[in-house]
């Protein structure tokens, strides 16, 4: 096989690509459009100004990374609720099993993916930080 045609073909390809639209995303100024069912930061759904969570312990049970801490308590109406609901984002693998397991649709995953922080304690998201923002 003659060695020149492959070189010419290659040169044609590179020239053709030069006029294509670049795929680069200029990240901090341009944002990626994440998919509808993207599994990002968790959020606790709210109903009647209270978290829907009934502290049934299904999510910490199913969690493969063991990153969810729940403590149950009783409120004024003798209803069970989660007095502590913490997710350690350093351990979370964003598998979404907690959302699947939840019987009352109390936990969901948002499109938020920028989870960087300056110290390790900031990665443990407390219940207040997880509640859906109004």
């Amino acid at each position: 096989m003659n060695p020149i045609t492959p070189i010419i073909n290659g040169m044609k390809i590179t020239l053709k690509h030069m006029f294509m639209k670049p795929v680069t995303l200029q990240y901090p100024t341009e944002r990626p459009k994440v998919a509808k069912r993207f599994r990002g930061l968790h959020a606790l759904n709210v109903s009647h100004d209270k978290a829907k969570c009934v502290a049934c312990y299904l999510c910490p049970t199913v969690c493969p990374a063991k990153c969810i801490t729940v403590e149950a308590a009783e409120d004024a109406n003798h209803d069970k609720y989660a007095s502590v609901y913490e997710i350690d984002m350093l351990r979370c693998i964003f598998c979404g099993y907690c959302v699947e397991a939840c019987p009352v649709d109390a936990v969901k995953m948002t499109e938020e993916f920028e989870l960087a922080n300056y110290n390790r304690t900031d990665f443990i998201y407390s219940k207040e930080r997880l509640l859906v923002k109004k």
Binding site: I7, T14, M18, F19, T24, Q26
Partner: protein
């Protein structure tokens, strides 16, 4: 004509200094922005954007790179041969720039009644009424371009590191192999032109409205000369002396700061020089339509042709992977040298019978 110094009018000296300054600054700027152009072009060829952050579309990137390299810490390895280590970047850089002295980048322009040929090492003799330039210009260029490799070999040896030494050795072997083929392919041009003066060679290509290029008479020689030049200046696909993947960074592994920048400047300056030389020898130099009527079009055509060839260099870099060492030697010794010799013989036979 007023004041004379050493038998030459003052204007001669002013024109000379002006030409040197303009050409040098222009080459330096071209070198700086060649790095930007390369990153941009290769970026787009890989469907990326290339530098975008520094200035509008990254236009200040070369300046930022320069400032960064300038303020970096200068490291000299404790086991290095200090003097050779310090002098090597200069030996690589200077021949790359001084080659430009003999390349004609335009015709004769007239300023204040004084005719100035646009070539640094040339002047217009009013009594003889013609341009004098270095009459062995091509030999000068061949000499200077082979000097550049001393810088690389010295850098490789002085660093006292095995990778650097390997890079230096490869550079010298490659240079020797391809210098021969490049020289032989230029010989067929001399056989047509009958002169070694670069301004004469450009003049001889001015027919057909500036399109009587040696490229059309000697396509094989032009092609081979360009490829061999790429190999001589260590551009991809012949960048074996640098070869990041196997030799870390080759001869400049141990270099840092401004000395490293000097090697890079030398590489890009060499690219500019080689493209300018190819333009001069094969693409009609500064010739083009209407250069007779408007002399300032000469440099414009010249720059356009040089930039086009530099684009081709970058295009090749974006396309081809590095050759293996044995392939490189095979191509140099077993393909280019015999073909160049046959080309000379054929040119000689045709020249004899025509």
């Amino acid at each position: 004509m007023g004041i004379e110094i050493l038998g030459l009018p003052l204007m001669y000296y002013i024109a000379m200094v002006a030409k040197v300054l303009v050409a040098f600054v222009f080459v330096l700027l071209t070198v700086a922005y060649a790095t930007y152009a390369e990153r941009k072009i290769i970026g787009h060829m890989q469907v990326r954007l290339g530098p975008m952050r520094t200035g509008w579309h990254g236009l200040l990137q070369p300046i930022a790179d320069g400032v960064k390299l300038f303020f970096k810490e200068e490291i000299i390895p404790s086991q290095a041969s200090t003097f050779a280590f310090l002098v090597a970047p200069l030996i690589a850089l200077i021949p790359a720039f001084i080659t430009f002295a003999v390349i004609p980048f335009g015709g004769i322009i007239e300023i204040a009644g004084y005719k100035i040929p646009l070539q640094i090492a040339a002047y217009y003799d009013t009594t003889a009424g013609q341009v004098f330039d270095v009459n062995v210009g091509v030999l000068y260029i061949l000499a200077m371009s082979s000097l550049g490799v001393y810088g690389i070999v010295l850098a490789g040896w002085a660093s006292n590191s095995k990778y650097s030494l390997m890079g230096g050795l490869r550079a010298s072997a490659q240079m020797i192999s391809y210098e021969l083929a490049a020289g032989l392919s230029i010989i067929s041009v001399f056989m047509l032109s009958g002169t070694l003066s670069l301004s004469r060679i450009v003049e001889l290509q001015s027919g057909f409205g500036g399109f009587e290029w040696y490229l059309f008479k000697q396509p094989l020689a032009a092609f081979m000369f360009f490829i061999c030049s790429l190999a001589e200046i260590n551009r991809t696909p012949f960048d074996l002396p640098e070869a990041e993947t196997e030799l870390v960074s080759g001869f400049c592994t141990e270099y840092s700061s401004m000395k490293y920048a000097m090697f890079f400047m030398a590489e890009y300056a060499n690219m500019v020089t080689v493209c300018a030389l190819t333009v001069t020898l094969f693409l009609g130099g500064w010739n083009g339509p209407l250069t007779g009527a408007i002399p300032l079009l000469g440099p414009v055509y010249f720059i356009a042709k040089v930039y086009f060839l530099m684009f081709v260099c970058m295009w090749i870099r974006a396309t081809l992977p590095r050759y293996r060492y044995d392939q490189l030697m095979h191509l140099g010794w077993k393909v280019f040298i015999p073909v160049a010799l046959v080309n000379i013989i054929v040119t000689g036979i045709i020249g004899y019978f025509l």
